[in-house]
Amino acid sequence: MKKTTSKRMFTFGLVLLILVLAACAPLYAPVYTVILLTSILMYMTIAVSWALFSGPTGYISLASAAFFGAGIYTSAILGKALPLPLVIVVGALASFCLALLVGALTLRLKGIYFVMFTFGLVELLLHFILWWEVTICGTTGRVVPPAGNATVFYAMLIILVILVLTVFIIRRSRYGLALFSIGENEEAAAHAGVHVTVLKIIIFAVSALFMGAAGAAMATRWTYIDPRIAFNPLISFMPVLMAIFGGIRPLYGPIIGAAIFTYLEEFLITRFPYYYMLIFGIIMVVAILYMPDGLVGLIQRLWKGISGRKHADT
């Protein structure tokens, strides 16, 4: 009992320390480090929000780009009129509403059908908005007022912290349990009293909320956006890979995955511009071969090896 509380204190302290260090980054770190950290934060946010819903339920969503894009477009439309925090809130709400609608329509689809529907959603939005702008508005693309590097960094940091707290609370509550049960056997969950549909839709929308917020904040870095940029399918795929790479189940899996993925990619791109895909690909294949349960699995195994404890962990 005592041991677990002291372990918990330690974890808490560690998280706090990292947080303080991160929060002060713009004060001591070179500007580019802050920029890099910002994109790491962005991927962390998307990966964690993705894992919030898709991790336990097993509904692999490829709609992240749609929700992220909704945030971006909000920023583009309201960026000049409203202050950044407000823009972020509106972007988040826009995504939330979009996800409610989409969720109500799609969440009865299962497996790959759901995956492809969500992917289709991104493409549909992209092509529809493109067509709308081209034929109805007669122009495409918008200019977003840029914000300072530190501003975007803090915005992303705050979003991530709120997100992590939210996920933590949800996971620890009864609803966390219910989400896992949906992933295991939806029918049985329903017969045990879980209002499966509503729960799925709400959590789906909550995860979209944070993606929208991230999109609204990040748009200020790009100055110019058009539908192709806003609804980039890479934004749907990368977080999934990062989460699988890190380990989907524990909260810190997608966080670690996003950090390593983003840093590794940037490292390779700048060192080996012509071969980085090759190297990155090989690393991915080898990693998955030797870490079948993600980085987190590896860490847990190492940890078990070190601490020598036999722990009946899932």
Partner: protein, 293 residues
């Protein structure tokens, strides 16, 4: 006037089928890989790209007829797929704790493959768009006009899919493949050599991708980065048609082609929007695809 209408309709329908045929060939292979071997092969389009570039090189370098290139690039790509499954994916399947984990892990591995294959292709062929012309002349059919190469392509697409379907539906191996998809352990209890069958499936999937690529290179321009686009189309087609159903993939491909052709005829700007609208509507009406169970 009536006959003009008829010709227009014929034109729209056949144009749709011509496009749909290509979609179908690319999808059938993925259907096999995902429906049976449980590998959501994001690198499927890269195999298509390989097929296309091999054909391109053979034709432009050595003047080998693209249709004959089939016999070369099909087996080549099959071998790549088969070996990949035997080495990489079999190991992954054994080490993944659950089937769900295997699906996730194999998708990640496929992303790795996508990067590797694409990069290698860029290093070999360069990143730029390539193309050649073959059978680039018109053929008149009942008053409407079509490209000879596309008609040939459609013919081949039909034939390939048909042969493949008959193979799966009627042979012992075909049955084993379907059983393996549903419960590999129990299929093993029936005497099925699971690892071999799954590798064959993956290989056949790659083979179909290779042939699809060869066909694509005749009518479309190609580049090393073209893969993902075709992967996505193929995914849409197999989902539209019903997962794991070969005729489903075929029908799905044709439906998509037809829809595209009809909408392009009316308002080209909406043709891609229409793809997705149809796709999503169909899923909502029939959540398991057109021919899904």
């Amino acid at each position: 006037m009536g006959s003009y209408m008829m010709v227009t309709i014929l034109d729209v329908v056949i144009s749709g089928l011509l496009l749909g045929g290509i979609y179908a060939v690319t999808a059938v292979g993925l259907s096999l890989q995902y429906g049976v071997a449980r590998v959501l092969n994001i690198a499927h389009g890269e195999f298509i790209m390989l097929g296309a570039f091999i054909t391109y090189s053979l034709y432009t370098r050595f003047g080998i007829n693209p249709l004959i290139c089939f016999a070369i690039c099909g087996p080549l790509v099959f071998a790549v797929g088969f070996i990949l499954y035997r080495t990489l994916f079999t190991r992954l399947r054994m080490s993944s704790p659950t089937p769900g984990a295997f699906e996730g892990n194999s998708m990640l591995a496929c992303f790795g493959l996508l990067f590797i294959i694409q990069n290698v292709a860029i290093l070999i062929w360069g990143a730029d768009i390539k193309g050649y012309t073959y059978l680039a002349f018109p053929v008149d059919l009942w008053g409407a006009r079509f490209a000879a190469n596309r008609l040939v392509t459609l013919g081949f697409a039909l034939a390939i899919c048909l042969v493949f379907y008959l193979f799966l539906a009627n042979t012992r191996l075909g049955k084993a493949i379907r059983a393996a998809a549903q419960d590999p352990d129990t299929a093993g209890l029936m005497g099925v050599r699971i690892n071999q069958v799954l590798a064959l499936c993956f290989g056949f999937g790659a083979l179909m991708a290779g042939l699809g690529g060869a066909l694509i290179s005749i009518s479309y321009k190609i580049q090393p980065t073209m893969g993902l686009e075709y992967t996505m189309i193929a995914l849409i087609v197999i989902v539209l048609g019903g997962l794991g159903s070969i005729p489903g993939s075929f029908v799905g491909g044709l439906v998509l082609g037809l829809v595209g052709s009809i909408v392009t005829h009316i308002e080209p700007g909406l043709s891609l929007v229409a793809y997705y609208v149809i796709f999503m509507l169909l899923l909502l009406i029939k959540p398991t695809g057109i021919l899904g169970k």
